[in-house]
């Protein structure tokens, strides 16, 4: 009972103490302790807001898309500071599902050591190392989340890295036709896990009092209309395709950009 009253007092004292010290100098050296860092995945389509089952989007391949599902897996987060030091988030806890339809758009990293982070690296999908861990790599919460969000394949013991579905029309396909883009690794035959490193326009500051939010703008248009042009008129269902799946994986790595960083205490953005 006593602890109940002491704890907030202590916390307030701590916060005010460290707040004083950080007033003097806001450089990386003065940042101490640890805190949370949140990464917001703000899904869009070529600059527009992504509205599932509502808006239509026209891409440069001349195809008009209605999008019903945009889910993907992100993993293996690494934060890089201004001096090039890397902090790798604990691997076992570093797998997340982003789902537009289920409003899961945040990755919440906890206990990040204080620092001035200038870029972030993460994977799209599940790496082979994780698969090779066998039973030990199977985190209950993640597996359930993946199953609940249509991110597991039933015919092979693996995850879909990207589940992008909807319907489209084009010059040759005039009736709205369903499309399904499911991308993942092809067993041991083809590894489609990719990593992406993106710089932040302003450093994300983490300390015992600072818990930043890194706001990513994610462009779903890049999946089909990136460096590789993937035509739905050619194939509306791409699940395991030796040529197109790796191209989709590459395209998808170009979806991410840090739009801005919110620095501060208990940032609620």
């Amino acid at each position: 009972m006593i602890a109940k009253y002491i704890k907030p007092l202590l916390l307030t004292a701590l916060i005010s103490l460290s707040a004083c010290s950080s007033d003097d100098d806001n450089s990386a050296e003065s940042l101490s302790g640890e805190n949370d860092l949140t990464i917001e995945f703000d899904n869009g389509f070529n600059g527009d807001d992504l509205l599932l089952g509502a808006s239509t989007y026209t891409n440069s391949n001349g195809e008009v898309l209605t999008i019903n599902r945009f889910n993907y897996l992100v993993s293996n987060f690494v934060l890089i500071d201004s001096e090039g030091n890397e902090y790798a988030y604990p691997k076992d806890d570093s797998y997340f599902v982003i789902s537009e339809e289920n409003e899961m758009t945040e990755v919440h990293l906890t206990n990040i050591p204080a620092g001035e982070y200038v870029s972030v690296r993460f994977g799209l999908g599940v790496d082979q190392e994780k698969y090779q861990q066998g039973a030990e790599g199977q985190n209950d919460a993640f597996l359930k989340t993946a199953e609940d969000n249509e991110m597991m394949w039933s015919w092979q013991a693996g995850y879909k890295f990207l589940n992008f579905e909807g319907s489209f029309t084009s010059a040759t396909v005039t009736e709205a036709t369903d499309f399904k883009i499911h991308m993942g690794s092809h067993g041991t035959a083809l590894d489609n896990y990719r990593e992406v490193e993106i710089a932040m326009p302003t450093a994300a500051l983490v300390s015992s009092t600072l818990s930043p939010v890194v706001h990513l703008a994610v462009d779903a248009n890049k999946i089909l209309d990136g460096a590789h042009k993937i035509l739905l008129s050619e194939a509306a269902v791409v699940m395991v395709d030796e040529v197109k799946s790796p191209q989709i994986a590459e395209n998808a790595t170009s979806m991410f950009r840090v739009d801005h960083v919110h620095n501060g205490e208990n940032v609620d953005h």
Binding site: A135, K144, E147, S154, Q156, T188, L190, V240, E242, S245
Partner: protein
């Protein structure tokens, strides 16, 4: 001789119920086994939770490591048992899970439903194994012995890790039609399973990790290595081969062993053996996993252990007898872009086999039947 160390940990339960106090006793038994100065340290944690108001204590079984002997004529084991060493309780749990219909959506289809011991863990009398709601798959349930020595699983290599294999039949719509998370939820709600998991694993949790580990422990122990052939090559029990069996073995080594390699009788590779496409089912095999047209119609080379017991044959169970299988290799192989080059030699398709060769081969293949394994009570459902 026993040395017993007893530790008492008192854990204040955070539950708001009246039974606020939970006692956890942890016993560590260091057991010295046999007197040949070989000390087997069986570190065993036994959790006994007394939560009833009168502090009645319940003691749970001691867990012992299981001996796992690698047969002298086998290659190295692929499965890393240091990460999941089989124990008596882990194996027992794995076996219960293997035979439990809870793993399926309707509660009736267990692993053992399609993998019956008396047919060397295949689905006897079923060309296509049927699963939930009597839905039929397009493939024949393969034998599962010696899985710890394999690096690819399922006909198309849909996983390369034994631990993850159960995900495939559990989630397949025509097999068990369940989700992994749902199976876990059912096990978590089951008092008997809670105890079995507590007995089998140090952290005692009903978790995916422990679920997969228990199933693997059962499968890792399914070793078939005591056929007449094994005893013959290991020179045990003064076993001899008949003239026909010896001739069959020679032909086998010449004409079959390049794919049915080693004493596992498979090279774990994916090959197209030239089967005509099954009418109505265009099963492209390995290409379904790899997405590569070069893998079209390739399937994993199956082990031939206990092959006399595992009819029907081929990934789609199209052949009812070994005779038909050999007739196919002699006369029925069809050419295609991905036909294995081994079956396209000397200006002919398939394997040159005379009637006598086939008879001798069948005699030899019959020596691969392992009665010890087929009747091993440790693996039996009842």
């Amino acid at each position: 001789m026993f040395i017993m160390v007893k530790m008492l940990i008192i854990n204040w339960s955070k539950s708001s119920e009246n039974r606020g106090l939970t006692l956890i006793f942890r016993f560590l038994f260091f057991r010295m086994k046999n007197q040949l100065k070989t000390i087997l340290l069986a570190l065993v944690i036994c959790n006994a939770i007394a939560c009833s108001p009168d502090n009645e204590e319940e003691y749970i079984l001691i867990n012992e490591p299981l001996q796992l002997e690698i047969p002298a004529n086998f290659p190295e084991m692929v499965y890393d048992i240091s990460k999941n060493p089989p124990t008596e309780q882990g194996f027992a749990l794995g076996k219960k899970l293997f035979y439990d219909g809870k793993l399926s959506a309707n509660g009736f289809i267990s692993c053992g439903f399609c993998h019956e011991q008396r047919s060397a863990f295949t689905h006897h009398g079923h060309q296509f194994s049927h699963g939930i709601d009597d839905l039929e798959g397009v493939r024949n349930a393969p034998a599962i012995q010696n899985a710890a020595f394999m690096s690819q699983f399922a006909w198309d290599g849909a996983t390369a890790h034994l631990d993850l294999f159960p995900i495939i039949p559990i989630t397949n719509e025509v097999e068990m039609g369940e989700t992994v998370s749902n199976v876990l939820a059912k096990l978590k709600a089951d008092g008997a399973y809670q105890r079995l998991f507590a007995n089998a694993f140090e952290n005692g949790e009903v978790s995916n990790e422990n679920f997969f580990k228990a199933l693997s422990q059962f499968m890792v122990m399914l070793i078939s290595s005591n056929s007449k052939y094994d005893k013959y090559v290991r020179k045990e029990d003064a076993i001899t081969f008949t003239e026909t069996e010896t001739r069959g073995m020679e032909i086998f080594q010449q004409k079959c062993a390049s794919c049915h390699k080693t004493d596992l009788f498979t090279d774990d590779a994916f090959r197209n053996n030239g089967l005509p496409i099954y009418p109505g089912i265009n099963d492209i095999g390995r290409a379904e996993v790899s997405g590569s047209a070069t893998d079209n119609y390739k399937f994993k080379v199956p082990s031939l252990r206990n092959v006399a017991m595992t009819a029907p044959y081929m990934h789609d169970g199209r052949f009812g007898s070994l005779q038909s299988v050999l007739d196919f290799y002699a006369n029925g192989v069809r050419d295609s872009e991905t036909l294995d080059s081994i079956l396209k030699q000397n200006n002919r398709l398939g394997i040159d086999l005379s009637k006598k060769d086939k008879d001798a081969l069948i005699s030899f293949l019959n020596t691969l039947t392992d009665e010890t394994y087929l009747n091993d009570k440790r693996f039996a459902e009842y």
